[in-house]
Subunit: 219 residues, 4 copies
DNA sequence: GGGTAAACGAGACGGTACGTCAAGTCTTTAG
DNA sequence: CTAAAGACTTGACGTACCGTCTCGTTTACCC
């Protein structure tokens, strides 16, 4: 994969906590005074992202994040409205995602590319589990829910809808079709298998999704 | 609604905790000994269902359920593997759902009927929120996840797939189509809007879902 | 030591739980019907004694005894008034103590023999810890307290007092001395070091006890 | 009693939980944040002491202490190693004991005074029962046992031994006598009757204890 | 360049819920 | 019919986090 795609992430950041050459020696006990806000924020997000990817939402507690970031809980509560909001922020901080939906002029090909990349993201990386747990947590965490809609699913929906609108202008897609619904039928179907995994998310599944919605399934 | 539908529930049970005529009188302090297992189970499920529907998963704790059922935590832990498993059981106990997917001979009409009923269930009753929270909880609760797949989503998938297979035998649907994928594109799309509610679940949305997948959206 | 003494026990019973030939196989699930009372009592006392001597009062619970005796809690509650009462009974069942205070005609020699044997019992066998824990438990267990006074300390006090009265009749001890008090100053002093072990119970300690009370400590 | 004595306590503190003049008014809902450690400790010890003296060790649970102190269990677990350690601390906090062993130059008189005062403490106040229960609890609570030896029985032993050594220097007591043993024969004998109450602790008992050990009981 | 205020770390605090254990009571069922 | 079996309530246990709050410290900014 040479390019990056919608709903996809470019790479997981490396969380290198120190060279193995380092001796266990003096732990560089930091004082307790004021430090630059940006630095503290960064360390908290590093710790949050690492914890989230390494151990999942089950082990993600504000206390653990504070402890591993060397920060205090007070500081975290000052900046993030809820555990979930911090987790989402940590996720974005960790994964360096790229939002893009390049047009090749063939909407079927573009949709296939995007959906397959998304399917791979969900199945081949730890992001799948993390996203699932974030969506799960959002069901009982208003702040996370709001953040998720605004910064995660919203922008991704828009990008896909815009690509389909461009295709319609090119005459590839029918007028009168609500592309928002199509998004639910492509990406939403993937989330369905992610969150209620009766069946796996496969390459074939991704292909069928696009095929069904583009050509219909009637006899 | 004169008939009942797939993924639909017939009615919420009434949680009548005693006629208002009853006097506050002797509280009938029960002893601590053994009571019939079935009775205890029933009272626990009543309490679990009521709590879930009234206050949601956020307020659903084993301690609350035990207190309101007049049961002990030990007993609950003996029978249910996790908080989520109890919640799911309480939900089923409360909603008396009916699984059915009647054929009229017109698959489009049948799918429309089912999806619309499902959309109404999610939006017009408290079941929508409860299902969302159960799915959310299942992301970090293995026992609930397993129960949900086996007793909730699994049977419902099968019913829909079977109906479409009957339609194919009648010549309504094309051979070579994976109906499991269609399920994800119809019901899964609804779950998408339930769990990531950037857009509402409407009658029009339900209609578009069926239309898109049956006839395709190509120009 | 060829003879046995007051406040002393002859031997610990062997707790052989089964021949090593026995296979781990079917646990011989006994039915729930009635068994001879004496047999059940015996098995319960075996289990209680073994548990008490092996793991101490901290691990001694009615549930453990019931489980290891293969009996039900109900049966235990029917025959013993409290946990402590069962423990005491189990202790007596296990240790096969002998109450005797033989006269040699020299009361100092006899007291020394008895006190030294008691000191050895407390320090060299597990009985010391068990007695301490039983006395401890008796402070918040009325039934055990009553049983302890009646079946343990009471008879032992009487035996010692009687021996000293015989010595008085022989002209060895002064008239007008309350021998009950002497018992507290000999055996009671040992219990003091058993229950509040600032100092150990030694051979020298035992000797000093007898010397002090027989001859006084004045200059 | 005009002076205060070894092993004796001066007075029980008054547990006044609020003047009756106080109105029921604003309940002064305290926030959940940190309060001065000393204040919290004090309130916990007040509650522990009051509970111990009022209802005894049987009703003494960490949960009750926390509830009545308006503190949280976590806080208690942070500072006290065990239930017994808290109880002992609460006892000391409540009774304001005075350790003193004044010399009059007549050791018999001084021992009599001290032993009688101790006997009165054990029989006339609630301290007797509490001490018995603490010693009882210590038999299965290592932390309490250690605290009891170090802060209770140890210092009291030393004081009595020191007084007798002073008497020996004055020529009142014989050389070569182990005064630690004498302590066991005086105070230990009292504990014997406290913990195994076959016979009561009386004024006459106290007198006999001192007489026997000072002058011997030989004919 | 010194003084001050904001932001920080540390972590104790009151709480809620967890999951476990034993005590003691009561129903069911086997013999 | 009766006693063993064992399911039940109760209540305390000790732990984990929650979100709040007090403290003392340290930097950054302003005068």
């Amino acid at each position: 994969m040479t390019s990056s795609f919608l709903w996809t992430l470019r790479s997981f950041k490396h969380f290198v906590n120190g060279s193995s050459i380092c001796q266990a020696g003096p732990v560089e006990k930091r004082g307790r005074g004021r430090r630059p806000a940006a630095q503290v924020r960064g360390e908290i997000l590093d710790a949050a992202g690492k914890l989230l990817l390494d151990e999942g939402m089950g082990a993600f507690t504000i206390e653990r994040v504070a402890a591993e970031a060397g920060a205090s809980k007070t500081t975290i509560y000052k900046w993030w409205a809820s555990k979930g909001a911090l987790a989402l922020d940590g996720y974005f901080h960790a994964v360096e995602s790229t939002l893009a939906f390049p047009d090749t002029g063939d909407i079927e090909r573009d949709l296939l590319t995007q959906i397959r990349a998304f399917a791979r993201l969900l199945t081949r990386t730890r992001a799948g589990r993390v996203i699932a747990e974030l969506i799960g947590q959002a069901q009982t965490d208003e702040d996370l829910a709001a953040a998720l809609l605004e910064h995660y699913s919203g922008p991704r929906r828009q990008l896909a809808v815009a690509a389909m609108e461009r295709a319609r202008e090119r005459g590839e897609l029918a007028a009168g079709v609500d592309f928002e619904v199509v998004v639910d039928q492509l990406w939403g179907a993937c989330y369905h298998r992610l969150l209620l995994p009766n069946l796996p998310i496969t390459e074939k599944f991704a292909t069928s999704l696009v095929r069904n919605v583009l050509r219909g399934i009637r006899a």
